[in-house]
Amino acid sequence: MSRPTPLRDVHESLGATLTDFAGWLMPLRYGSESAEHNAVRQAAGLFDLSHMGEIFLTGPQAGQALDYALVGHLSALTPGRARYTMIVNGQGGVLDDLIVYRLGDEEFMVVANASNYEKVGNELKERAKAYNVVVDDRSDQYALIAVQGPRSQEILATLTGADLDGLKYYAGLPSVVDGRQALIARTGYTGEDGFELFVANEDAAPLWHALMAAGEPYGIKPAGLSSRDTLRLEAGMPLYGNELSVELTPFDAGLGRVVKFDKPGDFVGRSALEAVKDDPPRRRLVGLVARGRRVPRHGYPVTKDGAVVGEVTSGAPSQTLGKPIAMAYVDTGVEEGLAVDIRGSQEPMDLVELPFYRRKK
C-alpha cells in the first residue's frame, strides 16, 4: 500500500494518474506529460515533491558531524546557502545524493531521495554519534512543493514579501508565503529557474491552491513525475537508481568534484575514494541522441560494431530536442559509431556531452 502525500486529494480532484514511486502514491501526470514538460520550459509548473526526506541536524557540532558523514565540506557552508553533496559507504559507493541547507550556525537540513531517506537518516544518526548534535528525521512533518520555470519568480512574488531577487541559486530563506511559514529554496531538478517550498503538511493544500491561482495568468500547470523525469534528463541531472548507485563512486559518475578531500578530518569513504580518485575511469557518463525515433531506455546495451561498450541509465523522448535522448555509461574513448540495442535492433546514436539542454540566462 503506497503512502499518500498531504496533496493526494488535490491530485485526485485534478484527475491525476497516480503511480507508486518509492513506496509513495505520486502524481505521474495530470493530462499530457508533454504539455507539462513544455509548461515548465516556457512558463511554470507546480510539483508535489512531498515524498522527499527532510532530516535535521541541530547542535554545536552539526557542521563537523556532516563533514564526517558526507563527502562535502558542510561546516564551511554559509548560513542560508545550500550544497549538492553525497553520502557514501566505506567503500566509496554512493548511498544517496543530497542537498544540504544550512539554516543557521547550528542547524542543517539534509534533503534525501524518497527511496533512500530512511537509510540516510539511520546512517546520519549512526555517524553523528560521537558529535554534539541531534539528528531528527522530520520527513513525515514536511511537504515540499516546487514551482519551476521561467515565470516562477513572478508567480511566487505575488504571494510573498521575501527578497526573491536577493535569493541566489542554491540558497534557502525562511519566510512567509500566502500567510504560511515556508522555507523558500532556489533549487530544482528541471534545468529551469525555480523554487522549492518546504512547508508543514497541513499548509500544503492551501499553498498549492494559492500557487495555482497566482500562476494561472502566467500559464502554470500542475506537473507530475513523468515530466519531472524528462526535464531532469534534458538538464543532464543524475537520478539515484539510474545514474547513481551503491556500485558506483562519485568519480565513476563524473561527480568527483563533490568530494572535498581538503576538508579537515576523516570522513566515511575517504580512504577508499582517495585510492581511486586518480584512476582513469573505465566508463564515463555521456549523452546519446537517437538518429531514429525509437527510444533508448534504462538498462539497454550501448554497442559499437555489435560489441557492448556501455549501458543506458535513463532515456526518453525529448520535447526540447524533438528526438529520443539518453544518458549512458560508455567505455572511455569510444565516441563514434555508437548504437543502442533496442529490443534486438541496433539503433544509431550520436554521442554528445551533457547536458542536452541549458537554459538561457
Binding site: 499530457s32 506529460e33 525509437r294 523522448p317
Partner: protein
C-alpha cells in the same frame, strides 16, 4: 472510466477490432484505456503492408514517454493497409484512439482468435485499474 464503444471487439492486450462482422478485412487500434495508461504516445511502429501474420503475432510497437508496448495482430491474415497518419503524428492515438488513431487493417484468413465483447473488456479493465 474510459470509453469502450459497444460495436467493437477487444483483446486482452488492450486492442480494439472493427469490421469483424463482414468477415473480410478488420481494422485494429489500441483502446482509450491503453492510450491513457501509456500517456503521450511519441512513436508508433507499424507492420509492413503485404506481410502475413498469425493471430497473436507481435507486429509493431507503441512508445510513450514512460514506456513501450508491443502491438499484436488479433487475427491471422495479410496486412493490407497501415495508417500512415498515425505513424507521422502518434498523438492521434491519444486524441482519437478509436478513430484517426487506428493502426492497421488485416485481410482475415481462417477463424479469428477469441475476442472480447465491450462488456467483457470493461470487466477486464475495471479489474486492472
Amino acid at each position: 472510466m474510459s470509453n469502450i464503444p459497444d460495436e467493437l471487439s477487444y483483446t486482452k492486450e488492450h486492442e480494439w477490432v472493427a469490421g469483424l462482422d463482414d468477415g473480410l478485412t478488420v481494422t485494429v487500434g489500441i483502446t482509450a484505456y491503453a492510450a491513457e495508461a501509456l500517456g503521450d504516445v511519441v512513436y508508433v511502429q507499424l507492420p509492413d503492408v503485404g506481410s502475413n501474420v498469425e493471430g497473436g503475432d507481435s507486429v509493431g510497437e507503441v512508445e510513450s514517454t514512460k514506456s513501450v508496448s508491443e502491438i499484436y495482430s488479433p487475427v491471422g491474415g495479410e496486412i493490407v493497409e497501415i495508417n500512415q497518419a498515425v505513424a507521422d503524428d502518434p498523438s492521434l492515438v491519444n486524441s482519437d484512439p478509436y478513430g484517426e488513431g487506428w493502426m492497421f487493417r488485416v485481410r482475415v484468413e481462417g477463424d479469428p482468435r477469441d475476442l472480447l465483447s465491450a462488456e467483457e473488456y470493461a470487466g477486464l479493465t475495471s479489474g486492472e485499474s
